[in-house]
Protein backbone atom coordinates (compact mmCIF):
# COMPACT_ATOMS: atom_id res chain seq x y z
CA UNK A 1 0.00 0.00 0.00
CA UNK A 2 2.97 2.29 0.68
CA UNK A 3 3.47 2.89 -3.04
CA UNK A 4 -0.15 3.76 -3.66
CA UNK A 5 -0.22 6.56 -1.08
CA UNK A 6 3.24 7.87 -1.93
CA UNK A 7 2.99 11.11 -3.98
CA UNK A 8 6.44 10.31 -5.45
CA UNK A 9 5.04 7.17 -7.08
CA UNK A 10 2.24 9.13 -8.76
CA UNK A 11 4.68 11.81 -9.88
CA UNK A 12 6.69 9.00 -11.53
CA UNK A 13 3.53 7.68 -13.22
CA UNK A 14 2.89 11.09 -14.79
CA UNK A 15 6.57 11.41 -15.73
CA UNK A 16 6.61 7.96 -17.37
CA UNK A 17 3.39 8.76 -19.23
CA UNK A 18 4.84 12.00 -20.61
CA UNK A 19 8.20 10.45 -21.55
CA UNK A 20 6.49 7.56 -23.35
CA UNK A 21 4.68 10.05 -25.58
CA UNK A 22 8.04 11.05 -27.10
CA UNK A 23 9.23 9.19 -30.16
CA UNK A 24 12.65 7.72 -29.36
CA UNK A 25 15.14 6.76 -32.07
CA UNK A 26 15.09 3.12 -30.88
CA UNK A 27 12.68 0.28 -30.07
CA UNK A 28 9.71 0.96 -27.75
CA UNK A 29 10.67 -1.92 -25.43
CA UNK A 30 14.13 -0.37 -24.92
CA UNK A 31 12.64 3.09 -24.38
CA UNK A 32 10.27 1.71 -21.75
CA UNK A 33 13.16 -0.31 -20.25
CA UNK A 34 15.28 2.83 -19.86
CA UNK A 35 12.47 4.86 -18.28
CA UNK A 36 11.44 1.94 -16.08
CA UNK A 37 15.06 1.51 -14.98
CA UNK A 38 15.21 5.12 -13.82
CA UNK A 39 12.01 4.74 -11.81
CA UNK A 40 13.19 1.44 -10.26
CA UNK A 41 16.46 3.00 -9.10
CA UNK A 42 14.44 5.65 -7.27
CA UNK A 43 11.77 3.32 -5.88
CA UNK A 44 14.02 0.42 -4.81
CA UNK A 45 17.12 2.42 -3.97
CA UNK A 46 20.41 2.50 -5.83
CA UNK A 47 22.05 -0.69 -4.38
CA UNK A 48 19.01 -2.97 -4.91
CA UNK A 49 18.30 -1.44 -8.32
CA UNK A 50 21.89 -1.92 -9.47
CA UNK A 51 22.07 -5.51 -8.22
CA UNK A 52 18.84 -6.16 -10.13
CA UNK A 53 20.53 -4.98 -13.33
CA UNK A 54 23.66 -7.01 -12.57
CA UNK A 55 21.47 -10.10 -12.18
CA UNK A 56 19.61 -9.28 -15.40
CA UNK A 57 22.91 -9.00 -17.28
CA UNK A 58 24.03 -12.40 -15.92
CA UNK A 59 20.71 -13.97 -16.87
CA UNK A 60 20.88 -12.46 -20.33
CA UNK A 61 24.36 -13.89 -20.87
CA UNK A 62 23.24 -17.30 -19.59
CA UNK A 63 20.21 -17.42 -21.89
CA UNK A 64 22.17 -16.26 -24.94
CA UNK A 65 24.83 -18.88 -24.26
CA UNK A 66 22.19 -21.59 -23.87
CA UNK A 67 20.45 -20.55 -27.11
CA UNK A 68 23.72 -20.66 -29.05
CA UNK A 69 24.65 -24.13 -27.77
CA UNK A 70 21.36 -25.74 -28.63
CA UNK A 71 22.60 -29.22 -27.74
CA UNK A 72 22.96 -28.16 -24.14
CA UNK A 73 19.34 -27.15 -23.71
CA UNK A 74 18.64 -30.00 -21.33
CA UNK A 75 21.63 -29.08 -19.16
CA UNK A 76 20.52 -25.45 -19.14
CA UNK A 77 16.95 -26.30 -18.19
CA UNK A 78 18.10 -28.62 -15.39
CA UNK A 79 20.56 -25.98 -14.08
CA UNK A 80 17.88 -23.25 -14.24
CA UNK A 81 15.36 -25.58 -12.56
CA UNK A 82 17.75 -26.44 -9.71
CA UNK A 83 18.66 -22.74 -9.31
CA UNK A 84 15.01 -21.67 -9.06
CA UNK A 85 14.00 -24.59 -6.87
CA UNK A 86 16.86 -23.72 -4.50
CA UNK A 87 15.87 -20.07 -4.32
CA UNK A 88 12.24 -21.02 -3.95
CA UNK A 89 12.92 -23.27 -0.98
CA UNK A 90 15.25 -20.64 0.53
CA UNK A 91 12.49 -18.09 0.31
CA UNK A 92 9.62 -20.28 1.41
CA UNK A 93 11.53 -21.51 4.44
CA UNK A 94 12.11 -17.87 5.30
CA UNK A 95 15.86 -18.41 5.22
CA UNK A 96 16.58 -14.80 4.40
CA UNK A 97 16.16 -14.20 8.13
CA UNK A 98 18.19 -17.23 9.18
CA UNK A 99 21.53 -17.09 11.06
CA UNK A 100 23.28 -18.39 7.93
CA UNK A 101 22.25 -15.40 5.85
CA UNK A 102 23.00 -13.03 8.73
CA UNK A 103 26.47 -14.60 8.89
CA UNK A 104 26.95 -14.04 5.13
CA UNK A 105 25.81 -10.46 5.56
CA UNK A 106 28.35 -9.90 8.34
CA UNK A 107 31.07 -11.46 6.21
CA UNK A 108 30.26 -9.45 3.10
CA UNK A 109 28.44 -6.28 4.00
CA UNK A 110 27.59 -4.13 1.01
CA UNK A 111 26.75 -5.31 -2.44
CA UNK A 112 26.62 -9.05 -1.62
CA UNK A 113 23.78 -8.37 0.82
CA UNK A 114 21.75 -6.63 -1.85
CA UNK A 115 22.41 -9.38 -4.38
CA UNK A 116 21.26 -11.93 -1.83
CA UNK A 117 18.09 -10.06 -0.91
CA UNK A 118 17.32 -9.39 -4.59
CA UNK A 119 17.80 -13.09 -5.41
CA UNK A 120 15.47 -14.10 -2.60
CA UNK A 121 12.83 -11.61 -3.71
CA UNK A 122 13.04 -12.75 -7.34
CA UNK A 123 12.73 -16.40 -6.35
CA UNK A 124 9.29 -15.91 -4.88
CA UNK A 125 7.67 -13.23 -6.90
CA UNK A 126 5.84 -12.69 -10.15
CA UNK A 127 9.25 -11.80 -11.58
CA UNK A 128 10.23 -15.48 -11.52
CA UNK A 129 7.08 -16.47 -13.42
CA UNK A 130 7.64 -13.82 -16.08
CA UNK A 131 11.21 -15.10 -16.38
CA UNK A 132 9.99 -18.68 -16.89
CA UNK A 133 7.58 -17.49 -19.62
CA UNK A 134 10.39 -15.60 -21.35
CA UNK A 135 12.98 -18.40 -21.12
CA UNK A 136 10.52 -21.02 -22.45
CA UNK A 137 9.64 -18.87 -25.48
CA UNK A 138 13.23 -17.95 -26.25
CA UNK A 139 14.60 -21.47 -25.77
CA UNK A 140 11.82 -23.55 -27.32
CA UNK A 141 9.83 -21.31 -29.64
CA UNK A 142 12.66 -19.29 -31.14
CA UNK A 143 11.29 -15.95 -29.91
CA UNK A 144 13.83 -13.12 -29.85
CA UNK A 145 15.59 -12.24 -26.60
CA UNK A 146 15.40 -8.65 -25.39
CA UNK A 147 18.56 -6.83 -24.28
CA UNK A 148 19.14 -6.65 -20.47
CA UNK A 149 17.61 -3.15 -20.06
CA UNK A 150 14.45 -4.01 -22.01
CA UNK A 151 14.39 -7.37 -20.22
CA UNK A 152 14.12 -5.66 -16.81
CA UNK A 153 11.32 -3.54 -18.30
CA UNK A 154 9.46 -6.79 -18.96
CA UNK A 155 10.43 -8.65 -15.78
CA UNK A 156 10.11 -5.84 -13.23
CA UNK A 157 7.81 -3.12 -14.61
CA UNK A 158 7.50 -0.36 -12.00
CA UNK A 159 3.70 -0.35 -12.05
CA UNK A 160 3.49 -4.07 -11.26
CA UNK A 161 5.95 -4.01 -8.36
CA UNK A 162 3.51 -4.78 -5.56
CA UNK A 163 1.39 -7.65 -6.83
CA UNK A 164 1.27 -7.34 -10.52
CA UNK A 165 -0.35 -9.46 -13.18
CA UNK A 166 1.91 -11.81 -15.19
CA UNK A 167 2.13 -10.37 -18.68
CA UNK A 168 2.96 -12.96 -21.38
CA UNK A 169 6.39 -12.27 -22.93
CA UNK A 170 4.91 -12.28 -26.44
CA UNK A 171 2.46 -9.55 -25.48
CA UNK A 172 5.27 -7.36 -24.16
CA UNK A 173 7.13 -7.76 -27.47
CA UNK A 174 4.08 -6.37 -29.28
CA UNK A 175 5.05 -2.99 -27.81
CA UNK A 176 7.65 -2.73 -30.61
CA UNK A 177 5.07 -3.43 -33.32
CA UNK A 178 2.57 -0.84 -32.14
CA UNK A 179 2.07 2.28 -34.16
CA UNK A 180 2.59 5.41 -32.12
CA UNK A 181 -0.65 7.35 -31.72
CA UNK A 182 -1.45 10.25 -29.46
CA UNK A 183 -3.85 9.29 -26.65
CA UNK A 184 -7.36 10.67 -26.95
CA UNK A 185 -9.24 12.28 -24.06
CA UNK A 186 -11.59 9.29 -23.76
CA UNK A 187 -8.57 6.94 -23.62
CA UNK A 188 -7.11 8.97 -20.74
CA UNK A 189 -10.47 9.08 -18.98
CA UNK A 190 -10.91 5.30 -19.25
CA UNK A 191 -7.42 4.66 -17.86
CA UNK A 192 -7.97 7.10 -14.97
CA UNK A 193 -11.33 5.45 -14.27
CA UNK A 194 -9.64 2.02 -13.95
CA UNK A 195 -6.97 3.48 -11.62
CA UNK A 196 -9.51 5.23 -9.38
CA UNK A 197 -11.70 2.11 -9.22
CA UNK A 198 -8.63 0.16 -8.11
CA UNK A 199 -7.77 2.77 -5.49
CA UNK A 200 -11.37 2.70 -4.23
CA UNK A 201 -11.29 -1.12 -3.96
CA UNK A 202 -7.97 -1.09 -2.12
CA UNK A 203 -7.95 2.08 -0.01
CA UNK A 204 -11.65 2.36 0.82
CA UNK A 205 -13.37 -1.05 0.70
CA UNK A 206 -10.48 -3.38 1.61
CA UNK A 207 -8.99 -1.02 4.21
CA UNK A 208 -12.39 -0.40 5.86
CA UNK A 209 -12.99 -4.15 6.01
CA UNK A 210 -9.55 -4.74 7.50
CA UNK A 211 -9.78 -2.02 10.14
CA UNK A 212 -13.37 -3.00 11.05
CA UNK A 213 -12.47 -6.66 11.61
CA UNK A 214 -8.87 -6.57 12.84
CA UNK A 215 -8.29 -3.03 14.08
CA UNK A 216 -5.73 -0.56 12.81
CA UNK A 217 -2.65 -2.69 13.46
CA UNK A 218 -4.20 -5.99 14.54
CA UNK A 219 -3.07 -9.31 13.07
CA UNK A 220 -5.38 -10.96 10.55
CA UNK A 221 -6.71 -14.24 11.90
CA UNK A 222 -9.12 -16.75 10.38
CA UNK A 223 -10.56 -19.30 12.81
CA UNK A 224 -14.10 -19.97 11.56
CA UNK A 225 -15.83 -20.42 8.20
CA UNK A 226 -17.60 -17.05 8.60
CA UNK A 227 -14.25 -15.31 9.20
CA UNK A 228 -12.86 -17.11 6.18
CA UNK A 229 -15.76 -15.90 4.00
CA UNK A 230 -15.17 -12.33 5.24
CA UNK A 231 -11.45 -12.66 4.56
CA UNK A 232 -12.11 -13.94 1.03
CA UNK A 233 -14.15 -10.83 0.20
CA UNK A 234 -11.45 -8.64 1.77
CA UNK A 235 -8.76 -10.45 -0.23
CA UNK A 236 -10.70 -9.91 -3.45
CA UNK A 237 -10.98 -6.13 -3.00
CA UNK A 238 -7.36 -5.87 -1.85
CA UNK A 239 -5.83 -7.90 -4.70
CA UNK A 240 -8.26 -6.76 -7.41
CA UNK A 241 -7.62 -3.16 -6.28
CA UNK A 242 -3.86 -3.49 -6.74
CA UNK A 243 -4.35 -5.24 -10.08
CA UNK A 244 -6.71 -2.54 -11.36
CA UNK A 245 -4.24 0.20 -10.45
CA UNK A 246 -1.52 -1.67 -12.40
CA UNK A 247 -3.91 -2.23 -15.33
CA UNK A 248 -4.92 1.45 -15.40
CA UNK A 249 -1.30 2.67 -15.34
CA UNK A 250 -0.45 0.14 -18.06
CA UNK A 251 -3.29 1.40 -20.25
CA UNK A 252 -2.38 5.03 -19.55
CA UNK A 253 1.24 4.49 -20.60
CA UNK A 254 0.47 1.97 -23.37
CA UNK A 255 2.47 -0.81 -21.69
CA UNK A 256 0.90 -4.29 -22.09
CA UNK A 257 -0.69 -5.19 -18.73
CA UNK A 258 -3.22 -8.02 -18.55
CA UNK A 259 -6.51 -7.84 -16.66
CA UNK A 260 -6.35 -10.01 -13.55
CA UNK A 261 -9.93 -10.34 -12.24
CA UNK A 262 -13.21 -11.04 -14.06
CA UNK A 263 -15.85 -10.91 -11.27
CA UNK A 264 -14.65 -14.20 -9.70
CA UNK A 265 -17.25 -14.18 -6.91
CA UNK A 266 -19.96 -14.65 -9.56
CA UNK A 267 -18.37 -17.85 -10.93
CA UNK A 268 -20.62 -20.92 -11.10
CA UNK A 269 -17.95 -23.60 -10.81
CA UNK A 270 -14.56 -23.80 -9.10
CA UNK A 271 -12.99 -24.22 -12.56
CA UNK A 272 -14.70 -21.03 -13.69
CA UNK A 273 -13.55 -19.29 -10.49
CA UNK A 274 -9.89 -20.01 -11.25
CA UNK A 275 -10.19 -18.56 -14.76
CA UNK A 276 -11.59 -15.35 -13.25
CA UNK A 277 -9.45 -14.99 -10.07
CA UNK A 278 -5.82 -13.96 -10.73
CA UNK A 279 -6.48 -14.75 -14.39
CA UNK A 280 -2.92 -13.97 -15.48
CA UNK A 281 -1.52 -16.66 -13.14
CA UNK A 282 -4.11 -19.12 -14.52
CA UNK A 283 -3.08 -18.19 -18.04
CA UNK A 284 0.62 -18.60 -17.11
CA UNK A 285 -0.05 -22.08 -15.71
CA UNK A 286 -2.05 -23.01 -18.83
CA UNK A 287 0.71 -21.78 -21.19
CA UNK A 288 3.71 -23.13 -19.31
CA UNK A 289 2.57 -26.20 -17.39
CA UNK A 290 -0.90 -27.50 -18.26
CA UNK A 291 -0.84 -27.40 -22.07
CA UNK A 292 2.81 -28.48 -22.64
CA UNK A 293 2.50 -31.33 -20.12
CA UNK A 294 -0.84 -32.56 -21.45
CA UNK A 295 0.34 -32.28 -25.06
CA UNK A 296 3.51 -34.25 -24.33
CA UNK A 297 1.69 -37.01 -22.45
CA UNK A 298 -1.13 -37.30 -25.00
CA UNK A 299 1.30 -37.43 -27.91
CA UNK A 300 3.10 -40.29 -26.16
CA UNK A 301 -0.14 -42.24 -25.68
CA UNK A 302 -1.45 -41.14 -29.14
CA UNK A 303 -4.58 -39.64 -27.59
CA UNK A 304 -5.45 -42.63 -25.40
CA UNK A 305 -6.25 -42.22 -21.69
CA UNK A 306 -7.02 -38.53 -22.04
CA UNK A 307 -9.24 -38.48 -18.93
CA UNK A 308 -6.46 -39.84 -16.70
CA UNK A 309 -3.89 -37.52 -18.30
CA UNK A 310 -6.25 -34.57 -17.86
CA UNK A 311 -6.71 -35.39 -14.17
CA UNK A 312 -2.97 -35.76 -13.69
CA UNK A 313 -2.12 -32.44 -15.42
CA UNK A 314 -4.83 -30.60 -13.47
CA UNK A 315 -3.44 -31.89 -10.17
CA UNK A 316 0.16 -31.08 -11.15
CA UNK A 317 -0.88 -27.56 -12.22
CA UNK A 318 -2.69 -26.89 -8.95
CA UNK A 319 0.11 -28.34 -6.88
CA UNK A 320 2.39 -25.81 -8.56
CA UNK A 321 -0.05 -22.96 -7.78
CA UNK A 322 -0.25 -24.13 -4.16
CA UNK A 323 3.52 -24.41 -3.73
CA UNK A 324 4.11 -21.07 -5.38
CA UNK A 325 1.91 -19.45 -2.73
CA UNK A 326 3.43 -21.25 0.24
CA UNK A 327 5.50 -24.28 1.20
CA UNK A 328 3.44 -26.29 3.68
CA UNK A 329 1.40 -29.47 4.07
CA UNK A 330 -2.03 -27.82 4.33
CA UNK A 331 -1.33 -25.74 1.20
CA UNK A 332 -0.19 -28.86 -0.63
CA UNK A 333 -3.39 -30.64 0.43
CA UNK A 334 -5.41 -27.62 -0.71
CA UNK A 335 -3.78 -27.72 -4.15
CA UNK A 336 -4.44 -31.44 -4.45
CA UNK A 337 -8.09 -31.00 -3.40
CA UNK A 338 -8.62 -28.17 -5.90
CA UNK A 339 -7.15 -30.25 -8.74
CA UNK A 340 -9.37 -33.26 -7.88
CA UNK A 341 -12.46 -31.04 -7.50
CA UNK A 342 -11.89 -29.47 -10.91
CA UNK A 343 -11.45 -32.89 -12.46
CA UNK A 344 -14.76 -33.98 -10.87
CA UNK A 345 -16.48 -30.86 -12.21
CA UNK A 346 -15.13 -31.63 -15.67
CA UNK A 347 -16.46 -35.21 -15.51
CA UNK A 348 -19.89 -34.01 -14.33
CA UNK A 349 -20.02 -31.34 -17.04
CA UNK A 350 -19.11 -33.79 -19.80
CA UNK A 351 -21.76 -36.22 -18.50
CA UNK A 352 -24.43 -33.47 -18.54
CA UNK A 353 -23.39 -32.51 -22.08
CA UNK A 354 -23.50 -36.11 -23.31
CA UNK A 355 -26.98 -36.59 -21.87
CA UNK A 356 -27.98 -33.19 -23.25
CA UNK A 357 -29.17 -32.15 -19.75
CA UNK A 358 -27.02 -29.04 -19.92
CA UNK A 359 -29.59 -27.42 -22.23
CA UNK A 360 -32.51 -27.83 -19.79
CA UNK A 361 -33.74 -24.52 -18.45
CA UNK A 362 -33.93 -25.84 -14.86
CA UNK A 363 -30.30 -27.03 -15.05
CA UNK A 364 -29.16 -23.69 -16.49
CA UNK A 365 -30.96 -21.72 -13.77
CA UNK A 366 -29.70 -24.03 -11.05
CA UNK A 367 -26.18 -23.58 -12.42
CA UNK A 368 -26.51 -19.79 -12.34
CA UNK A 369 -28.10 -19.49 -8.89
CA UNK A 370 -26.67 -22.40 -6.88
CA UNK A 371 -23.27 -22.27 -8.64
CA UNK A 372 -21.93 -19.04 -7.07
CA UNK A 373 -23.10 -20.17 -3.58
CA UNK A 374 -21.33 -23.53 -4.02
CA UNK A 375 -18.16 -21.81 -5.28
CA UNK A 376 -18.11 -19.30 -2.43
CA UNK A 377 -18.56 -22.10 0.12
CA UNK A 378 -15.78 -24.22 -1.41
CA UNK A 379 -13.27 -21.38 -1.86
CA UNK A 380 -13.84 -19.92 1.62
CA UNK A 381 -13.68 -23.45 3.10
CA UNK A 382 -10.37 -24.01 1.32
CA UNK A 383 -9.10 -20.69 2.62
CA UNK A 384 -9.96 -21.78 6.16
CA UNK A 385 -7.77 -24.86 5.62
CA UNK A 386 -4.70 -22.87 4.57
CA UNK A 387 -5.17 -19.57 6.42
CA UNK A 388 -3.59 -20.71 9.69
CA UNK A 389 -0.39 -21.70 7.88
CA UNK A 390 -0.27 -18.71 5.53
CA UNK A 391 -1.32 -15.73 7.68
Amino acid sequence: MDFLIDPKFWAFVIGVYLLLQLEPPFRATLWFGLINGGVLLFLLGLPTGLSLYALAALLWLGIRYAVRLQLRRVVFVIAAGVFFAGLFVLHKLNLQHSPLVEYVQRLAPGSAVFVLSTLLAVSFSYVALRLVDMVRLVMYEGTSLLDPISMVGYLVPFHMLVSGPICPYKEHLLLDARKKTWPTFSHLLRAVSVITTGLFYKLVIAECMRIYAYGLEGPMTVETWAQSAYFLVYLYFDFAGYSLVALGIGRLCGVPTPRNFYAPLLASTVTDFWTRWHASLGSFVRRNIFTPLQLTLMRRTRGRGNAAIGLFTLIVSFLFVALWHHLGWSVLLWGLAMGVLMAMEKTARDYFLRRRWAHWRSVRWGYRIVGPVYVFAVISGGLLLIAREML
Binding site: R287, T291, M298, G303
Partner: protein, 79 residues
Protein backbone atom coordinates in the same frame (compact mmCIF):
# COMPACT_ATOMS: atom_id res chain seq x y z
CA UNK B 1 -8.82 -24.58 -46.95
CA UNK B 2 -10.25 -26.93 -49.60
CA UNK B 3 -13.52 -28.86 -49.18
CA UNK B 4 -11.85 -32.17 -48.39
CA UNK B 5 -9.73 -30.69 -45.59
CA UNK B 6 -12.70 -28.76 -44.21
CA UNK B 7 -14.73 -31.98 -44.12
CA UNK B 8 -11.92 -33.81 -42.34
CA UNK B 9 -11.58 -31.01 -39.77
CA UNK B 10 -15.35 -30.92 -39.23
CA UNK B 11 -15.36 -34.66 -38.55
CA UNK B 12 -12.60 -34.24 -35.96
CA UNK B 13 -14.58 -31.48 -34.23
CA UNK B 14 -17.77 -33.54 -34.26
CA UNK B 15 -16.03 -36.59 -32.79
CA UNK B 16 -14.19 -34.65 -30.04
CA UNK B 17 -17.20 -32.61 -28.92
CA UNK B 18 -19.72 -35.37 -29.58
CA UNK B 19 -21.94 -33.05 -31.66
CA UNK B 20 -22.90 -34.68 -34.94
CA UNK B 21 -24.57 -31.57 -36.36
CA UNK B 22 -21.68 -29.18 -35.63
CA UNK B 23 -20.86 -26.90 -38.59
CA UNK B 24 -17.50 -25.13 -38.70
CA UNK B 25 -17.27 -21.40 -39.29
CA UNK B 26 -14.09 -19.32 -39.31
CA UNK B 27 -15.39 -17.12 -36.47
CA UNK B 28 -16.37 -20.06 -34.25
CA UNK B 29 -14.74 -19.78 -30.80
CA UNK B 30 -14.47 -22.01 -27.72
CA UNK B 31 -17.36 -20.07 -26.16
CA UNK B 32 -19.68 -21.17 -29.01
CA UNK B 33 -19.06 -24.92 -28.65
CA UNK B 34 -20.29 -26.71 -25.53
CA UNK B 35 -17.46 -28.65 -23.93
CA UNK B 36 -14.59 -26.76 -25.60
CA UNK B 37 -12.52 -26.20 -22.47
CA UNK B 38 -8.73 -26.20 -22.04
CA UNK B 39 -8.60 -29.96 -21.53
CA UNK B 40 -10.71 -30.76 -24.63
CA UNK B 41 -8.70 -28.16 -26.55
CA UNK B 42 -5.56 -30.28 -26.16
CA UNK B 43 -7.54 -33.39 -27.06
CA UNK B 44 -8.80 -31.61 -30.20
CA UNK B 45 -5.25 -30.59 -31.14
CA UNK B 46 -3.99 -34.17 -30.80
CA UNK B 47 -6.82 -35.49 -33.00
CA UNK B 48 -6.13 -32.79 -35.63
CA UNK B 49 -2.41 -33.62 -35.55
CA UNK B 50 -3.23 -37.28 -36.20
CA UNK B 51 -5.83 -36.55 -38.89
CA UNK B 52 -3.59 -34.18 -40.87
CA UNK B 53 -0.21 -35.69 -39.90
CA UNK B 54 1.13 -32.36 -38.71
CA UNK B 55 2.51 -31.08 -35.41
CA UNK B 56 1.73 -27.80 -33.62
CA UNK B 57 4.09 -25.96 -31.31
CA UNK B 58 3.01 -25.11 -27.74
CA UNK B 59 2.75 -21.46 -28.68
CA UNK B 60 0.50 -22.23 -31.65
CA UNK B 61 -1.74 -24.38 -29.45
CA UNK B 62 -2.10 -21.50 -26.99
CA UNK B 63 -2.67 -18.88 -29.67
CA UNK B 64 -5.77 -20.27 -31.43
CA UNK B 65 -8.59 -17.88 -30.56
CA UNK B 66 -11.04 -19.08 -33.22
CA UNK B 67 -11.44 -21.82 -35.83
CA UNK B 68 -10.16 -19.42 -38.51
CA UNK B 69 -6.75 -19.27 -36.74
CA UNK B 70 -6.63 -23.05 -36.63
CA UNK B 71 -7.51 -23.35 -40.33
CA UNK B 72 -4.87 -20.79 -41.29
CA UNK B 73 -2.22 -22.66 -39.29
CA UNK B 74 -3.16 -26.05 -40.80
CA UNK B 75 -3.08 -24.56 -44.32
CA UNK B 76 0.33 -23.05 -43.63
CA UNK B 77 1.70 -26.39 -42.40
CA UNK B 78 0.29 -28.33 -45.36
CA UNK B 79 1.33 -25.79 -47.99
Amino acid sequence: MDAERTQRLTEVFRAVFNQHDLELREDLTAADVAGWDSMNHVNLIIQIEQAFEIRFSNEEVNSFAKVGDLIACIDQKLA
